[in-house]
């Protein structure tokens, strides 16, 4: 490279650049007021300065000073506000403890966690945080636009899964199954529905929509309450780190939304390669593991796709896109692994199936259609039709208006349907003590920050059983047991929530009841399943509540260890067809 050659161009460029920069400076960088520096270079000779110019300069400088004092004063005020005023510790509306000041360790420092933790602490605990957030929801966010649809006051958050009827993709052929599809058998009593309480009967069919037969056991009530421990709530607390920020809304949700994005890509491939021999007889069941890579299937997991209509938040179901068949195949694996245990599958619809006005129906896919596909694919698994049971009670508050969960009343009707199919006694709602917690604003507000939800709280209504139960909570390895209660005590919180009553998911709970029918039930669930438990305390002798996402044991071994007679898979449609379903498969191979 000859120097001359090189320097020629750049110098030319430099000139060009300089003139460009000058032009840019002329347009943009010219300070808003005259400066002393500029006056030195630009101003006319001092002799030419007249009184007017001096005055102008004085006025300009005064404005600049006022400007500096105004903005600088605001920054100074902000500093005092952030450091001297009380730091908030709890976010009632998000049901979480706010970030705590980090404790120093060399490893956390080297990772940058300590320093970022300090910044997170100050950002997260701003004094009067709740009021400021309310102001944002009430006054600022509505400035973005208008609600859609006149009186419906529709707001859309996230992605809708819009389709026109003819665009619904055709379902693939149903994998071959050996037993008759459960759905085809619409009549005929079975062992399960005729009050059979045997522990070993292999139930191959299920009933659809037969009249409910419930029995109730009256037990003395023992109110068991426990302070909501910090440890439990901390699970909800999410750090606002830079890298995670774009997913913030998802992060604040329950792990339902979070986990699927991580696990499906890793676990399925691992397990299928590790245990090929165990799947040779179930080729159809292993194929759908691929759906973790299918973007359409992944869409179904995202629960922050929310439509707010008539002051109700509705999650928009994006469809299984084959995930529903995979789910069925995974559940079928449990029948293979545990042929003497009754396997029940009760996927749960979300509120979009019942509360989405007709004119917005094409923003979602049909949960019912996916549940029907599942039912057709079960092999030795009993389908429990919670959908139909719930659809008969849509006039009652079976779903929360501000939360992505169902309401305990919805869980009651689903539990009733299950008890009927399983042939176990069932306590009538009248035997429960009704508890009302007013001012409930659920998770959907956290996702959307919509004032439509914030300013229209609802009552959280739950039902306390009078059955005597002993509840032991274990960690996800079924260790470290300690006594707890069926319901947590939300008294320490101004605003209540689903989690504050039913607890968190990252544990295993054993509920020992006074029912003496020899039936031991394992519920593999997501957070929807938590609300079922109180309604089954009169129906099973033992209930083990296990979250599919936080289960660190081999599911089959665990079932044998606790002497399970029944296993119920009960989770919302998102978990069943989305990424969470891979845990069902993986839990058999741990």
């Amino acid at each position: 490279m000859s120097k001359k050659k090189n320097t020629g161009k750049p110098e030319g460029n430099n000139k060009r650049e300089a003139s460009q920069a000058k032009a840019a400076t002329a347009i943009l960088e010219k300070p808003e007021t005259d400066t002393t520096d500029e006056n030195k270079t630009e101003a006319a000779p001092a002799a030419a300065e007249n009184a007017t110019e001096k005055k102008h300069r004085r006025v300009s400088n005064t404005i600049a000073l006022a400007n500096t004092l105004l903005v600088g004063g605001m920054i100074a005020f902000g500093s005092v506000y952030m450091t001297c005023l009380r730091h908030e510790t709890i976010a009632e509306d998000e049901n979480r403890y706010l970030t705590k000041f980090p404790t120093f360790s060399m490893s956390s420092y080297l990772k940058g966690d300590y320093t970022e933790g300090i910044a997170d602490y100050f950002d997260d605990t701003v004094h009067n945080r709740a009021k400021i957030k309310q102001f944002i929801s009430d006054k600022l966010l509505p400035l973005k636009g208008e609600p859609y649809g006149g009186d419906d006051e529709v707001e859309l958050y996230g992605i809708a899964f819009e389709h026109t009827p003819q665009e619904i993709p055709e379902l693939e052929p149903v994998p071959p199954i050996t037993d008759p599809p459960a759905q085809l058998i619409t009549e005929g009593d079975t062992e399960a529905s005729s009050g059979n309480e045997s522990t070993s009967g292999k139930v191959t069919t299920t009933m659809e929509d037969t009249s409910g037969q419930t029995t109730s056991e009256e037990d003395t009530s023992e109110e068991q309450t426990e302070k909501h421990t910090e440890k439990q709530t901390e699970k909800e607390t999410e750090k606002h780190t830079e890298k995670e920020t774009e997913k913030q809304t998802e992060k604040q949700t329950e792990k339902e939304t979070e986990k699927p994005t991580e696990k499906p890509t890793e676990k399925p491939t691992q397990t299928t390669t590790q245990k090929p021999s165990e799947q040779t007889t179930q080729q159809q069941t292993t194929i759908p593991v691929k759906t973790g890579d299918d973007p359409k299937a992944a869409d179904g997991e995202v629960t922050n796709n929310i439509l707010i209509v008539n002051k109700r938040g509705i999650t928009l179901y994006g469809g299984g896109w084959g995930g529903e068949k995979t789910y069925a195949s995974y559940v079928n694996e449990y029948h293979k692994a545990l042929p003497n245990v009754n396997i029940w599958s009760m996927p749960l619809p979300t509120s979009c199936s019942f509360y989405l006005p007709d004119k917005y129906k094409n923003l979602v896919q049909s949960e019912k259609a996916d549940f029907d596909t599942m039912a057709a694919c079960y092999n030795g698994v009993n389908a429990v039709d919670a959908y139909t049971a719930l659809s008969q009670h849509v006039d009652e508050p079976i779903y929360s208006r501000t939360d992505h969960h169902w309401a305990p009343l919805g869980a009651y009707y689903a539990a009733q349907e299950f008890a009927k199919d399983a042939g176990v006694p069932f306590d009538d709602l009248s035997t429960y003590e009704k508890c009302v917690l007013p001012g409930y604003v659920g998770t959907l507000y956290g996702f959307t920050k919509s004032s439509k939800l914030l300013n229209n709280p609802e009552d959280f209504i739950y039902y306390k059983t009078k059955n005597n139960v002993t509840v032991t909570q274990y960690n996800t390895y079924f260790g470290n047991p300690y006594k707890t209660s069926l319901y947590l005590n939300p008294a320490g919180w101004d605003k209540s929530s689903y989690y504050l009553v039913f607890g968190m998911d990252d544990n295993i709970r054993h509920i020992k009841t006074e029912c003496r029918n020899g039936r031991t039930l394992i519920i593999f669930k997501d957070s929807y399943g938590n609300a079922l438990v109180p309604f089954l305390t009169g129906s099973f002798e033992n209930i083990y509540l296990c979250d599919i996402r936080y289960f660190n044991l081999n599911a089959a071994s665990f079932a044998k260890q606790v002497g399970a007679t029944d296993i119920l898979f009960s989770m919302c449609s998102y978990s069943a067809v989305g990424g969470n379903k891979t845990h069902i498969h993986n839990n058999l191979y741990k």
Partner: protein
């Protein structure tokens, strides 16, 4: 650390400003700035701060060698060493994973993909230090004798992690001799408030629309795909130019005058002009240091152009879509070059605007989709290929829900402030009125942005990842 968080605005910045103001003399002030810059960088990257220091030291030392052996072999050797070192550093930390992945894919081998995290701002400070070395070699700047001063140039926190790519020549004199007037402070504060407003009030809100449209491209309609891409183009603009505003504003608080990095790119009439207005510090870097590298012989005009756009693309990220993105713009600049300036001007203005906006919007679509399969879906959607609907209910709801935000964003892409400045030049009363209004607007923007930040997800500026 990022600028758009309360901790920075209300704790880090005041602490820095107070210490800076308390320090007497430029030397002490420089020491304060270096310390705060290192704290700023180490806040999120305690380990990689050493890498940055290493880079600074190597380049500083090479600068001295260039000076010592001026015109001789040692000069070229030191230049070559520094350039290779810088490019290698960037290559290892930014592109090694990408390169290995592609080698694996191409030759069906399975070389382990190195899991190297991208040190924040490496693309920016490496380019700064490269420009210094080359300018030293070309004798365009005097070699910096003091390591402390060189470190100040490289590590200055306003521009350290996301630009603009400040040339050494720009602040060479100001490193050792600068002053700050009250007008500078006012200007700096106002510019920071403006940048913060762009980022927090516009870019962050637009990003929600983008996530909901381009994020679910399989479900998008024709209008939805265009809507998403338009929102994304504006998001990136407000995000990045907002960062540059804050950087320029912060620089001014300390007496530095950085060059503009954006000049309202969306008012351009063609793609060549777009790149004269978009990320100016990067395009001028490539123009000055790459375009005339004589490796293409007689065809260097076109070869250089190809190289510049390839590098522009790949600089933005180790992914094929960025390569495609760069070459895509290169293609249009090339076409415009073939047509010629005079003939371009003969094309009706409306058509030129429609053409340039369409190219830019589709370009940002390419920029968004790192996964090429999704990019394919995006292309099909924008032309309505297949059974794509023209417009859907979700688009109508979203457009209604965000109508004022979108209108405001579009208006803000025009050079409004320049308009007011022109107005202020008419007479002194107008100037005073405009300046007073600017102060009030800045205060309002700062207040609103701060309120929004209380509940904001700490959205890092997008250009952090480059």
């Amino acid at each position: 650390m990022i600028f758009s968080r309360l901790f920075f605005i209300y704790l880090f910045l005041p602490a820095c400003l107070l210490t800076y103001a308390a320090a007497r003399g430029t030397k002490h002030k420089n020491t304060v700035l270096i310390i705060f810059s290192l704290i700023f960088y180490a806040w999120g990257e305690p380990a990689f701060v050493l890498l940055m220091l290493l880079s600074a030291f190597v380049n500083y030392a090479c600068g001295l060698l260039i000076e010592k052996y001026r015109g001789g072999k040692g000069d070229s050797a030191a230049t070559a060493f520094a350039v290779v070192f810088d490019i290698l550093m960037l290559g290892v930390f930014k592109y090694s994973g990408f390169v290995v992945e592609n080698i694996n894919a191409l030759f069906s081998c399975s070389i382990p993909v190195p899991d190297i995290r991208l040190p924040i701002g490496i693309s920016f400070y490496t380019f700064q230090t490269l420009s210094y070395i080359i300018d030293c070699h070309w004798e365009k700047v005097d070699t910096q004798k003091s390591f402390k001063n060189y470190l100040l140039y490289l590590a200055l926190f306003p521009q350290l992690v996301a630009g603009p790519i400040v040339r050494y020549s720009t602040i060479e004199k100001e490193i050792e001799n600068r002053s700050v007037s009250v007008s500078d402070v006012a200007y700096g504060f106002n510019r920071i408030a403006l940048g913060l407003g762009k980022k927090v009030l516009l870019a962050n809100q637009l990003s929600i629309i983008v996530d909901n449209t381009l994020g679910g491209i399989e479900n998008a309609t024709v209008v939805g795909a265009w809507y998403g891409a338009i929102a994304y183009a504006m998001q990136i603009y407000f995000d990045f130019s907002g960062y540059s505003d804050i950087a320029i504003g912060l620089g001014r608080l300390f007496g530095f005058h950085f060059d503009e990095n954006f000049r309202h790119p969306f008012v351009c009439k063609d793609i060549t002009e777009f790149w004269q207005r978009w990320h100016i510090s990067l395009s001028t870097f490539f123009r000055d240091y790459l375009l005339y590298v004589p490796i293409f012989g007689k065809r260097r005009k076109y070869g250089g152009l190809f190289l510049v756009w390839l590098c522009t693309g790949i600089w933005h990220g180790a992914s094929w879509n960025f390569v495609l993105w760069g070459l895509y713009y290169g293609l249009f600049v090339f076409i415009e070059m073939l047509i010629g300036k005079k003939r371009m001007k003969k094309i009706p203005l409306v058509i030129r605007h429609i053409y340039s906006k369409a190219v830019i919007i589709v370009g940002f679509g390419i920029f968004y989709f790192e996964k090429l399969s999704n990019l394919g879906i995006f292309f099909r959607k924008i032309v309505g290929y297949g059974s794509t609907q023209l417009i859907g209910l979700q688009d109508r709801i979203s457009l209604t829900n965000n109508m004022y935000l979108l209108i405001t964003a579009v208006i803000c892409t025009f050079p409004l402030i320049e308009g007011f400045k022109k107005l202020s030049e008419k007479n002194f009363a107008a100037k005073s009125a405009v300046n007073s209004a600017a102060a009030l607007c800045s205060a309002a923007l700062l207040l609103l942005s701060s309120i929004m930040l209380v509940d904001a997800t700490t959205n890092p500026f997008l250009y952090f990842r480059f």
